[in-house]
């Protein structure tokens, strides 16, 4: 279970977010570019420091402004799939996935077994020794997901995981990704600015605008726009709030 209360002054606005995510639940952070979605992920991962607040993951305090607890990213055990995946370009798919396991002082036989298993599971086992620069967008996405999952993280963060894919691959991987996240039984947060991503992959949706939560609800409520007085217009692929527009 992830419980978060965070405040941070940014250049254009003050970020003020409170949220919680249960194990096995997929929370979607939806919002326009620059609404504070990726910043929220970076604050959770420890890549940015909040001004105040608290982050508790499975009752372990990762950050607390009051007691000055501030675990560095390497001690948080959070799997992070970055936008454009951030796969290490000088390494093979195997080395990328093994990177986190090597930091956990695991025996090389065990590392090999786990990497092989997860890459096979995600359908890219045959590309294990390929340089990641030679892989397609969809293959990279799978390797990035394998790299984040293989360390058995307590929380999964995915920043626009489908943006780098073409429309066809997006449709396919969206469903697969949802299945993988549910299978992992970890709390997951996906950042996206796509309404369709939110509807298909999320259990719950939070809409952010200028660092504030302006709507929380189930994905199907987005369509019904119940409990969302700010909704002006909604169609299959487009939603317009009083402040923001998402397609």
């Amino acid at each position: 279970m992830l419980e978060v209360q965070l405040k941070k002054s940014l250049r254009d606005f003050d970020l003020d977010v409170s949220l919680s995510v249960r194990s096995g639940e997929v929370l979607v952070l939806l919002g326009e570019n620059g609404s504070g979605k990726s910043t929220t992920l970076n604050l959770l991962a420890g890549l940015l420091n909040p001004d105040e607040g608290i982050i508790s993951l499975n009752e372990r305090i990762l950050y607390s402004g009051c007691t000055s607890v501030e675990l560095p990213p390497e001690d948080r055990n959070i799997g992070y799939v970055f936008q454009n995946y951030a796969l290490f370009p000088h390494m093979s798919a195997f080395e990328n996935v093994a990177f986190g396991l090597r930091r956990r002082s695991m025996a090389s036989v065990e590392i090999h077994k786990r990497v092989q298993h997860i890459l096979d599971d995600l359908g890219v086992g045959h590309l294990m020794y390929e340089r990641v620069t030679n892989l397609s967008g969809g293959q990279r996405q799978r390797v990035a997901l394998a790299r984040a999952l293989v360390i058995q993280p307590d929380l999964l963060l995915l920043d626009e995981p489908l943006t780098a894919l073409d429309r066809q691959a997006r449709e396919k991987i969206r469903i697969e990704l949802r299945e993988e996240l549910v299978k992992s039984c970890k709390p997951s947060i996906i950042v996206t600015h796509s309404l369709k991503d939110a509807e298909i992959m999320g259990d719950r949706v939070i809409i952010l605008a200028e660092g504030k939560i302006i709507w929380t609800g189930q994905p199907n409520e987005l369509e019904k726009h119940s409990g969302s007085p700010q909704v002006r217009y909604i169609s299959d692929e487009y939603i317009s709030f009083s402040k923001i527009a998402i397609d």
């Binding site: 420890g46 890549l47 390497e74 055990n77 970055f82 951030a86 290490f88 930091r103």
Partner: protein, 270 residues
Amino acid sequence: MKSGSSSSFRGSKGLIILIFGLIVFITILFYTLPLLSLFLRITPEEFINTIYEPNVQSAILLSLVTATTATAIIVILGTPLAFLNARVDYSGRKFVETLIDIPIVLPPSVAGLSLLVLLGRRGLLGSTLSEMGITIIFTTLAVIIAQVFVAGPLYIRQAKSAFAMVDPVFESASRTLGAGPIITFIKVTAPLARTGLISGIIISFARAIGEFGATIMVAGNLPGKTQTMPLAIYGFMQSNLTASIALSIVLIAISFVILVLIRILSGKSA
């Protein structure tokens, strides 16, 4: 009338090509003829015999040892500063960068004099060191210090650019996977900046091995102790011109290899 203007156009076009070609030819000649004259002045036998002379050999060995040591020191001292300047926008960064760059444009005599005033027996640091029984001036250590002083900024500048080219998101990814800052630097940042870092190392080694002005002021020209190749070339000019030429050819060969390496690396990074 028409054919007359066309032939005069052709004539002036031909003249322009001729002048252009001549300028290019003179330029190439200007930069290659002096080096070529060195090769024409000495036979291969003379070159090989001279290379085996003890004074010449000690100059070559001393140059290689001091330039390698200086380059290693430059990498150890310069890498953290280059990384800091590439990653952190601290106040005064541009001022620090300008200060570090000064030795690149400084006349070698000024670099030598400033080191002499710092490290000499009555110098700012030298007086204290002298009281402790430590002498730096006119030692091999002084040669290395002079080389580090003049060649270091070239590496720091190049390494900073190389680090700045590495997208910080790779470092973030490494940290979330469980690697601390040092492991992240060793496993991710440095390998991704490798081509630029190696270029920096080669350029600073080239500058160190060719260093003359600052070295002669701060270390003198003592055979076997401070007489590196450039100093030996200068020292042998009156008594043994063949040795000077042989050493010059060695330095030209080293420069050529360095340029080829840089070209290969530039091609790789492109």
